[in-house]
Symmetry: C2
Subunit: 186 residues, 2 copies
């Protein structure tokens, strides 16, 4: 059984990520002994969004094009209204999410980040949740929408909002310790 203390986890985000949805997983997963790296489109620091205005910046550990999928056990996608709306137009970011899924890695998206799962077309036939505003987009993308604090289907973890962060991070740890997922057909 893989241990969270041996795990390597990637957080992918850009400007406008919801502050707590990057910082809490970063802190809590590191606190559990995992190695956690933050990747941004060009490797520069990115600016958070704290509820109703721009927030604090977070340093990047690497640029998107330097990420090797095989180095990681999981990818975590913070939300915010702005961050995933920008990232979904980045072909390399969308390809990376597809690659994590194709390799059976844990893929975790919270709040508005399931837009990235829609863009990567990895929720078709899967159970998923999200911030309420994008539930129609998830359903239209073929997901079975559930209004729960955390939903897992075949290694894809989704949550609704910052209030679900405890359940979200807890489920990331659980899924990583279960090991890589042999993706079942949807």
């Amino acid at each position: 059984m893989p241990k969270i203390t041996d795990a390597k986890i990637l957080i992918l985000a850009t400007d406008g990520f919801e502050q707590s949805e990057l910082e809490r997983p970063l802190k809590d997963l590191k606190g559990k002994g995992a190695t956690v790296h933050v990747a941004t489109p060009d490797g520069s620091a990115i600016k958070g969004w704290d509820e109703d205005n721009w927030g604090d910046s977070v340093q990047a550990d690497l640029a998107l094009d330097a990420v090797k999928v095989e180095d990681y056990d999981a990818i975590v996608l913070p939300g915010g209204q702005i961050n995933p709306d920008i990232l979904r137009t980045n072909k390399d970011a969308v390809k990376l999410i597809k690659d994590f899924t194709a390799h059976g890695k844990t893929v975790a998206a919270i709040c508005h980040a399931p837009w990235l799962l829609i863009e990567a077309d990895v929720v078709r036939g899967r159970k998923a949740t999200s911030y309420p505003s994008i539930s129609t987009d998830l359903k239209n993308a073929g997901a079975h929408f559930e209004d729960s604090e955390v939903v897992v289907d075949n290694g894809i973890i989704t949550s609704r909002s910052p209030e679900d962060l405890d359940a979200f991070v807890g489920k990331i740890v659980e899924e990583i310790e279960e090991g890589e997922h042999s993706r079942k057909a949807a």
Copy 2:
């Protein structure tokens, strides 16, 4: 033939509307002699978003629940990443857009505002455009996506971004002067 000088046009928005996408249609349509009202969820002033930060406020003429569809020839929906993401969770706003469509009124949405057309489920089988980031959401909602400065299908006008505002406003005038649309089946 209806004239733009006799037309009554409603702009519906909330906080985080893209500044130019509300102010330009408001100014230009008034400039052409139309009566233009701004409706907001509770009738209060709303705060714009000017490219990369909060912008100026705009006063409301009325609250959403005071709008009578039969009073207007058209509804205009400005974009922004924040405004339509909030508005689409407002059932009354979504119902109003459905009602404008059902009554054969002109419905115009720019940039990220086509999310509201998705939520109202009025683009199925229709040609439409949007800001590039939400093109997948439009396609998944059954729209035939076109990458053009302005697209019209059966009274529904869509444009991509502030750069398309001239074409967008021009087409609103044209559609209003054509008169109400007897909606064809999609």
